[in-house]
């Protein structure tokens, strides 16, 4: 009994950031980090299904995919790529600042900058979607395509919307999480002794960024060399 009481007391004296199941903050930090990496592994397989389907159909219908790809707006796509890489920079700066300083306002500034760039990305994506909608390139009963092989092209647009849509959904979730973190940072919750949420969200954000780095050439750059 007394052993138990001391054990409870010992746990009670730990800093509030350490949950009851962990021995110390280091174990908690390592467990959280591993958890995020395992989650990202799942995410890779989640997108992997779509990348597999893309690979199969592109190898079956290379010409239709090339033509359909050239109807995408390469300027907006390129700008978006730059915007997203920029957001990864601000994200990395937020993580670094949280790790080395107690300056919560600076962490929040970088987090909100990341949110702003992410929102710009989503806005540009919305403009691109609207263009496709007006051109009747959205798959479904109203799909209309002037080029050869409209069916095979429709498959390309199916994959375009599914892949960029799933990516955009991840962006939206990321922006929401970043907003919560931004408020927490303003309240001075993060510093060199506790920055796990910022670091893990950073991992997630970079992952979503890397997915786009693959999506951009696969969707926009299929036949640009000619």
């Amino acid at each position: 009994m007394s052993e138990r009481a001391t054990a409870t007391a010992r746990r009670g004296s730990l800093p509030p950031a350490t949950a009851h199941q962990f021995d110390d903050a280091i174990q908690q930090h390592e467990a959280s980090g591993l958890g995020m990496w395992v989650f990202l592994l799942t995410e890779i397989l989640f997108f992997g299904g779509l990348f597999t389907i893309y690979t199969v159909y592109r190898s079956l219908y290379p010409e239709a995919f090339g033509h359909a790809s050239s109807t995408l707006d390469i300027q907006l796509g390129t700008i978006n790529t730059a915007v997203l890489i920029g957001s990864s920079l601000t994200m990395a700066l937020a993580v670094h600042t949280a790790q080395v300083s107690r300056n919560g306002r600076l962490v929040a500034l970088f987090l909100f900058a990341t949110i702003a760039l992410g929102t710009v990305f989503l806005g540009i994506k919305a403009i691109e979607y609207a263009q496709k909608f007006h051109e009747h390139h959205v798959p479904g009963p109203y799909f209309h395509y002037e080029g050869a092989d409209p069916q095979q092209s429709q498959l390309f647009f199916c994959l375009y919307f599914c892949m960029t849509g799933l990516h955009a959904l991840h962006m939206v979730i990321g922006v929401c999480v970043l907003a919560v973190l931004g408020v927490m940072a303003l309240r001075g919750r993060f510093g060199p002794d506790y920055y796990t949420p910022v670091e893990l969200t950073g991992l997630y954000w970079h992952f979503v960024d890397i997915v786009w780095i693959f999506l951009f050439p696969l969707l926009y750059l299929v036949e640009r060399h000619t």
Binding site: E3, R4, A7, A19, H20, Q21, F22, D23, Q27, E30, A31, L34, G35, V38, F39, L41, T42, E43, L45, F46, F47, G48, G49, L50, T52, I53, V56, Y57, L60, Y61, P139, G140, P141, F143, Q151, Q152, Q154, L155, C158, L159, C162, L166
Partner: protein, 545 residues
């Protein structure tokens, strides 16, 4: 030092607080983050799902009592076997051992206070509930008739049933599997007690670690595939529809990329349970611990490379078929390693035939039959003959019911004293284990013969000459049903009237037996320190009897 004393300390007879009586009320259960209580929440939920899936099975067997399709029409029959499959696979077998015994035992077996992410663990149960409700709503408002495999294009343009809600239910359910797997992997990596090295881990932990890897890598693929089926069906676009340029065989590849490893999600945890039971009830360390441990990982790895054997007649290149056939034979090797090592563990052991041991021995025999007939099906020529017949049905029921479910029941009995603090009635439990074994064989062995003679699966009517074997199968199913009802009744009875269990009623060696039954909320008063291998039975032999 302190842990050594605790091993022999009798359980507190009453008065001590444990995880069950620490607080009461519905809120204390619905908002709990205690892995043990979450395990029990899952246990209740999947028992309901099992009963429902069993009800559909009962209706199927009743229909097949006579050659004519008289009890239900073909459309209803399609729905019955579809919903039986979907509920049993996704809502019972896949969560069965990991979410109940796994949740309860993983932290206790490695000497931790809880899983790494307790709130995520509770979230996984709520996700499971939401997915189940979605599916149940679809089941009770019309049902679904695509087969549990959702093959396209029937599921996207052919079927007029509730495909989307069921697919959404399975999709949501997948995230609960992913969260459970993630939690287990992180917990096993980061939260082992001091001295508990990888090669000292209980074999049950190895099995669940391998299972978790499949959860993490397989589940997202079926999630995205079912999402695309929903999109295709809802928006009338053709990702898998040949009329619109899509490839239906691609759907089958993606589906089986998860759904074949899912078979190992079902069987690996049972293998882990059986490893614990065989060692405990033959009072011997397992023969070839390392081989049993690593064979779990080998099964998880090879299991991802054999999905094509479901598609030998679906239109695949003969070279791909050859490779898939070879790999399917290869995955039998680690499975056989386990069977041989269990058998060698029994050799010269001091065997006692307690109810869990009867289940474990039943598992070895039935899994061997199921595994060997799997090799028949992995052979290209024979598969063409028996594909889509009752031979396949019998084969996978030997694995999933004869294997996975026997292990689950054996495990529930074995850890029942730890979970509830009460003993189950032993002689009744032995009879029930035998009833399950006999009923199971009478149900499914005739189906091997039926399939070999050419009776196709998924029809509600059949030629007269198949009736004798079908009557045998239905009679067996009735016995099997009684075999399942018996534990349900006496386990509930034991909650109130069962003999109180000591901390370690079996004289087993795992860390979970070093703490009172039922355990306190924090599992261990003092974090145990491990100083030797997991199974040191020969030393303990004298203490027992």
């Amino acid at each position: 030092m302190e842990t050594a004393e605790r091993i022999d300390e009798p359980a507190r007879p009453d008065g001590g607080t444990n995880y069950l009586n620490v607080n009461y009320g519905i809120r204390s259960w619905l908002l709990t983050v205690d892995h043990k209580r979450i395990g029990l929440l899952y246990l209740g939920t999947i028992t309901v799902m099992f009963a429902l899936g069993g009800l559909f099975a009962l209706l199927i067997r009743l229909e097949l009592l006579t050659p004519a399709g008289d009890l239900v029409g073909p459309d209803t029959y399609n729905k019955l076997f579809t919903m039986h499959g979907i509920i049993m696979v996704f809502f019972f077998l896949i969560p069965s051992i990991p979410a109940t015994l796994g949740n309860f035992l993983v932290p206790m077996m490695i000497g931790a206070r809880d899983l790494a992410f307790p709130k995520l663990n509770l979230a996984s149960w709520y996700i499971f509930i939401v997915g189940s409700l979605f599916t149940l709503w679809a089941v009770f408002t019309g049902g679904v008739d695509t087969g549990w495999t959702f093959y396209t294009p029937y599921s996207t343009v052919g079927s007029h049933t509730k495909v989307i809600p069921v697919a959404v239910g399975v999709f949501i359910n997948g995230f609960s599997s992913i969260l459970t797997g993630l939690n287990f992997i992180v917990t096993i990596h980061r939260m082992r007690a001091p001295g508990l090295t990888w090669m000292r881990l209980p074999l049950f932990i190895w099995a669940l670690y391998a299972t978790s890897i499949i959860f993490i890598l397989g589940t997202p693929v079926i999630a995205i595939t079912l999402a695309l089926v929903g999109v295709e069906r809802g928006l009338h676009i053709g990702i898998f529809d040949p009329a619109l340029g899509g490839d239906p065989v691609l759907f089958q590849h993606l589906f089986w990329f998860y759904s074949h490893p899912a078979v190992y999600i079902m069987i690996l945890p049972s293998m882990g349970v059986v490893s614990e039971l065989i060692t405990c009830f033959s009072r011997k360390a397992p023969f070839g611990y390392e081989f049993i441990a690593i064979s779990s990982l080998a099964i998880a790895f090879l299991g991802f490379l054999v999905w094509g054997h479901h598609m030998f007649v679906a239109g695949m290149s003969p070279y791909a078929s050859l490779i898939f056939s070879f790999l399917s034979f290869a995955v039998a090797i680690p499975s056989a390693v386990k069977v041989f090592n269990w058998t060698a563990t029994l050799y010269k052991g001091a065997i006692s035939f307690k109810a869990p041991m009867i289940y474990a021995l039943g598992f070895i025999g039935l899994f061997t039959i199921g595994g060997l007939t799997g090799l028949f099906l992995a052979s290209l020529g024979l598969d063409v003959h028996v594909h889509d017949t009752y031979f396949v049905v019998a084969h996978f029921h030997y694995i999933m019911v004869g294997g996975a479910l026997m292990g689950y029941l054996g495990g529930i009995h074995f850890w029942w004293p730890k979970i509830t603090g009460r003993m189950y009635p032993e002689s009744l439990a032995r009879i029930a284990a035998l009833v399950v074994f006999l009923g199971f064989n009478l149900t499914f062995f005739p189906q091997f013969i039926l399939g070999y003679l050419g009776m196709p699966r998924r029809y509600n009517a059949y030629p007269d000459e198949f009736q004798v074997l079908n009557v045998m199968s239905t009679a067996g199913a009735s016995i099997l049903g009684i075999g399942y009802l018996m534990p349900f009744c006496y386990l509930l009875w034991s909650l109130r009237y069962g003999q109180r269990a000591s901390a370690n009623p079996w004289g087993a060696t795992g860390l979970e037996w070093q703490t009172p039954s039922p355990p306190p909320t924090e599992n261990f008063a003092v974090t145990p320190i491990v100083e030797g291998p997991a199974y040191h039975y020969s030393e303990k032999e004298a203490v027992l009897v």
